[in-house]
Symmetry: C2
Subunit: 114 residues, 2 copies
Protein backbone atom coordinates (compact mmCIF):
# COMPACT_ATOMS: atom_id res chain seq x y z
CA UNK A 1 0.00 0.00 0.00
CA UNK A 2 1.25 3.46 -0.85
CA UNK A 3 1.87 5.56 2.21
CA UNK A 4 -0.69 8.22 3.06
CA UNK A 5 0.48 11.80 3.00
CA UNK A 6 0.65 13.76 6.25
CA UNK A 7 -1.39 16.93 6.29
CA UNK A 8 1.58 19.27 5.77
CA UNK A 9 2.51 17.46 2.53
CA UNK A 10 -1.06 17.32 1.30
CA UNK A 11 -1.44 21.03 0.94
CA UNK A 12 1.96 21.39 -0.68
CA UNK A 13 0.98 18.89 -3.36
CA UNK A 14 -2.70 19.45 -3.93
CA UNK A 15 -5.31 21.92 -5.08
CA UNK A 16 -8.61 22.31 -3.21
CA UNK A 17 -10.79 19.26 -3.85
CA UNK A 18 -13.45 21.28 -5.68
CA UNK A 19 -10.89 22.91 -7.98
CA UNK A 20 -9.54 19.72 -9.55
CA UNK A 21 -10.45 16.03 -9.17
CA UNK A 22 -8.79 14.60 -6.08
CA UNK A 23 -6.75 11.41 -6.53
CA UNK A 24 -7.60 8.23 -4.61
CA UNK A 25 -4.44 8.50 -2.50
CA UNK A 26 -4.99 12.16 -1.67
CA UNK A 27 -8.65 11.54 -0.81
CA UNK A 28 -7.55 8.76 1.56
CA UNK A 29 -4.89 10.96 3.13
CA UNK A 30 -7.28 13.88 3.62
CA UNK A 31 -9.97 11.56 5.05
CA UNK A 32 -7.49 10.32 7.67
CA UNK A 33 -6.57 13.91 8.57
CA UNK A 34 -10.25 14.89 8.83
CA UNK A 35 -11.07 11.84 10.97
CA UNK A 36 -8.51 12.98 13.52
CA UNK A 37 -10.38 16.32 13.75
CA UNK A 38 -13.91 14.89 13.66
CA UNK A 39 -14.30 14.52 17.41
CA UNK A 40 -15.75 17.13 19.77
CA UNK A 41 -13.14 16.56 22.49
CA UNK A 42 -10.26 16.91 20.00
CA UNK A 43 -11.72 20.12 18.52
CA UNK A 44 -12.06 21.52 22.05
CA UNK A 45 -8.47 20.49 22.86
CA UNK A 46 -7.14 22.33 19.79
CA UNK A 47 -9.20 25.37 20.74
CA UNK A 48 -8.02 25.28 24.37
CA UNK A 49 -4.37 24.81 23.45
CA UNK A 50 -4.56 27.79 21.06
CA UNK A 51 -6.23 29.96 23.73
CA UNK A 52 -3.85 28.94 26.52
CA UNK A 53 -1.00 31.07 27.81
CA UNK A 54 1.89 30.98 25.32
CA UNK A 55 -0.38 28.90 23.04
CA UNK A 56 0.70 25.66 24.67
CA UNK A 57 -0.82 23.42 27.31
CA UNK A 58 -0.14 20.23 29.22
CA UNK A 59 -2.63 17.45 29.90
CA UNK A 60 -2.88 18.91 33.43
CA UNK A 61 -4.38 22.13 31.99
CA UNK A 62 -6.99 20.28 29.93
CA UNK A 63 -8.57 17.53 32.03
CA UNK A 64 -10.68 19.77 34.26
CA UNK A 65 -12.12 22.12 31.61
CA UNK A 66 -12.83 19.15 29.35
CA UNK A 67 -14.37 17.09 32.14
CA UNK A 68 -12.47 14.02 30.93
CA UNK A 69 -10.01 11.69 32.63
CA UNK A 70 -6.28 12.12 32.10
CA UNK A 71 -5.93 8.85 30.12
CA UNK A 72 -8.77 9.94 27.81
CA UNK A 73 -7.23 13.38 27.25
CA UNK A 74 -3.81 11.77 26.69
CA UNK A 75 -5.34 9.48 24.07
CA UNK A 76 -6.88 12.44 22.21
CA UNK A 77 -3.59 14.35 22.42
CA UNK A 78 -1.75 11.38 20.91
CA UNK A 79 -4.23 11.20 18.00
CA UNK A 80 -3.68 14.92 17.33
CA UNK A 81 0.11 14.59 17.54
CA UNK A 82 0.12 11.53 15.24
CA UNK A 83 -2.08 13.36 12.73
CA UNK A 84 0.30 16.33 12.67
CA UNK A 85 -1.86 18.94 14.40
CA UNK A 86 0.05 19.17 17.69
CA UNK A 87 3.70 19.16 18.70
CA UNK A 88 4.72 17.53 21.97
CA UNK A 89 7.69 18.69 24.03
CA UNK A 90 8.64 17.19 27.37
CA UNK A 91 9.74 19.63 30.09
CA UNK A 92 10.13 18.35 33.63
CA UNK A 93 7.16 16.29 34.75
CA UNK A 94 4.82 17.28 31.95
CA UNK A 95 4.65 17.21 28.19
CA UNK A 96 3.51 20.45 26.59
CA UNK A 97 1.44 20.57 23.44
CA UNK A 98 1.22 23.34 20.84
CA UNK A 99 -0.50 23.66 17.48
CA UNK A 100 1.68 22.80 14.48
CA UNK A 101 1.75 26.05 12.50
CA UNK A 102 -0.11 25.70 9.22
CA UNK A 103 -1.64 22.31 9.94
CA UNK A 104 -5.25 23.46 10.33
CA UNK A 105 -4.78 25.92 7.48
CA UNK A 106 -3.69 23.02 5.24
CA UNK A 107 -6.97 21.20 5.86
CA UNK A 108 -8.92 24.43 5.46
CA UNK A 109 -7.12 25.20 2.21
CA UNK A 110 -7.98 21.81 0.72
CA UNK A 111 -11.68 22.26 1.54
CA UNK A 112 -12.13 25.95 0.70
CA UNK A 113 -13.54 26.83 -2.71
CA UNK A 114 -12.74 30.53 -2.65
Amino acid sequence: MTELLPIRDLQACCAPITREPVSVLNAESLAVSLKALADPARLRILSMVAAHEDAEACVCDLTEPLGLSQPTVSHHLKVLVDAGYLTRSKRGTWAYFAIVPGSLDSVAGLLATV
Copy 2:
Protein backbone atom coordinates in the same frame (compact mmCIF):
# COMPACT_ATOMS: atom_id res chain seq x y z
CA MET B 1 -30.51 17.36 24.02
CA THR B 2 -29.90 20.68 22.29
CA GLU B 3 -30.02 20.38 18.56
CA LEU B 4 -26.72 20.43 16.70
CA LEU B 5 -26.14 23.30 14.31
CA PRO B 6 -25.97 22.59 10.58
CA ILE B 7 -22.78 23.72 8.92
CA ARG B 8 -24.29 26.88 7.37
CA ASP B 9 -25.36 28.14 10.82
CA LEU B 10 -22.08 27.21 12.44
CA GLN B 11 -20.03 29.67 10.45
CA ALA B 12 -22.61 32.41 10.91
CA CYS B 13 -22.38 32.04 14.68
CA CYS B 14 -18.81 31.11 15.37
CA ALA B 15 -15.23 32.26 15.14
CA PRO B 16 -12.45 29.89 14.02
CA ILE B 17 -11.76 27.34 16.76
CA THR B 18 -8.23 28.62 17.35
CA ARG B 19 -9.38 32.25 17.67
CA GLU B 20 -11.71 31.77 20.63
CA PRO B 21 -12.60 28.76 22.80
CA VAL B 22 -15.21 26.64 21.04
CA SER B 23 -18.35 25.77 23.04
CA VAL B 24 -19.33 22.15 23.71
CA LEU B 25 -22.35 22.42 21.40
CA ASN B 26 -20.39 24.01 18.57
CA ALA B 27 -17.59 21.44 18.92
CA GLU B 28 -20.19 18.66 18.66
CA SER B 29 -21.81 20.27 15.64
CA LEU B 30 -18.50 20.80 13.84
CA ALA B 31 -17.41 17.23 14.65
CA VAL B 32 -20.58 15.88 13.01
CA SER B 33 -19.95 18.04 9.93
CA LEU B 34 -16.33 16.87 9.74
CA LYS B 35 -17.31 13.20 10.15
CA ALA B 36 -19.48 13.50 7.05
CA LEU B 37 -16.40 14.66 5.12
CA ALA B 38 -13.91 12.23 6.67
CA ASP B 39 -14.36 9.48 4.11
CA PRO B 40 -12.31 9.05 0.93
CA ALA B 41 -15.33 8.15 -1.23
CA ARG B 42 -17.28 11.18 -0.05
CA LEU B 43 -14.33 13.52 -0.67
CA ARG B 44 -14.00 12.07 -4.18
CA ILE B 45 -17.75 12.49 -4.76
CA LEU B 46 -17.60 16.18 -3.80
CA SER B 47 -14.60 16.63 -6.07
CA MET B 48 -16.29 14.82 -8.98
CA VAL B 49 -19.55 16.73 -8.60
CA ALA B 50 -17.66 20.04 -8.61
CA ALA B 51 -15.68 19.03 -11.73
CA HIS B 52 -18.69 17.67 -13.62
CA GLU B 53 -20.47 19.51 -16.42
CA ASP B 54 -22.64 22.28 -14.95
CA ALA B 55 -21.17 21.38 -11.52
CA GLU B 56 -23.84 18.75 -10.91
CA ALA B 57 -23.94 14.99 -11.28
CA CYS B 58 -26.28 12.05 -10.85
CA VAL B 59 -25.42 8.73 -9.20
CA CYS B 60 -25.15 7.35 -12.77
CA ASP B 61 -22.16 9.65 -13.41
CA LEU B 62 -20.34 8.60 -10.27
CA THR B 63 -20.52 4.81 -9.87
CA GLU B 64 -18.05 3.93 -12.63
CA PRO B 65 -15.29 6.47 -11.83
CA LEU B 66 -15.60 5.65 -8.12
CA GLY B 67 -15.63 1.89 -8.71
CA LEU B 68 -18.46 1.52 -6.19
CA SER B 69 -21.95 0.05 -6.45
CA GLN B 70 -24.95 2.31 -6.95
CA PRO B 71 -26.37 1.61 -3.45
CA THR B 72 -23.02 2.49 -1.89
CA VAL B 73 -22.74 5.73 -3.88
CA SER B 74 -26.37 6.56 -3.01
CA HIS B 75 -25.60 6.05 0.67
CA HIS B 76 -22.62 8.44 0.50
CA LEU B 77 -24.71 10.99 -1.42
CA LYS B 78 -27.39 10.83 1.28
CA VAL B 79 -24.80 11.45 4.03
CA LEU B 80 -23.52 14.49 2.13
CA VAL B 81 -27.06 15.84 1.53
CA ASP B 82 -28.02 15.31 5.19
CA ALA B 83 -24.85 17.08 6.34
CA GLY B 84 -25.62 20.08 4.13
CA TYR B 85 -22.84 19.72 1.54
CA LEU B 86 -24.97 18.65 -1.45
CA THR B 87 -28.35 19.65 -2.82
CA ARG B 88 -30.53 17.00 -4.47
CA SER B 89 -32.98 17.79 -7.27
CA LYS B 90 -35.04 15.15 -9.03
CA ARG B 91 -35.39 15.51 -12.81
CA GLY B 92 -36.94 12.64 -14.76
CA THR B 93 -35.39 9.30 -13.84
CA TRP B 94 -32.43 10.67 -11.92
CA ALA B 95 -31.67 12.88 -8.98
CA TYR B 96 -28.95 15.45 -9.59
CA PHE B 97 -26.54 16.58 -6.91
CA ALA B 98 -24.69 19.88 -6.64
CA ILE B 99 -22.45 21.43 -3.98
CA VAL B 100 -24.26 23.72 -1.52
CA PRO B 101 -22.54 27.08 -2.06
CA GLY B 102 -20.51 28.09 0.98
CA SER B 103 -20.80 24.77 2.81
CA LEU B 104 -17.17 23.67 2.40
CA ASP B 105 -16.02 27.25 2.95
CA SER B 106 -17.87 27.25 6.29
CA VAL B 107 -15.90 24.24 7.51
CA ALA B 108 -12.69 25.70 6.12
CA GLY B 109 -13.40 29.03 7.83
CA LEU B 110 -13.88 27.39 11.23
CA LEU B 111 -10.57 25.53 10.93
CA ALA B 112 -8.40 28.21 9.34
CA THR B 113 -6.19 30.28 11.63
CA VAL B 114 -5.28 33.02 9.14
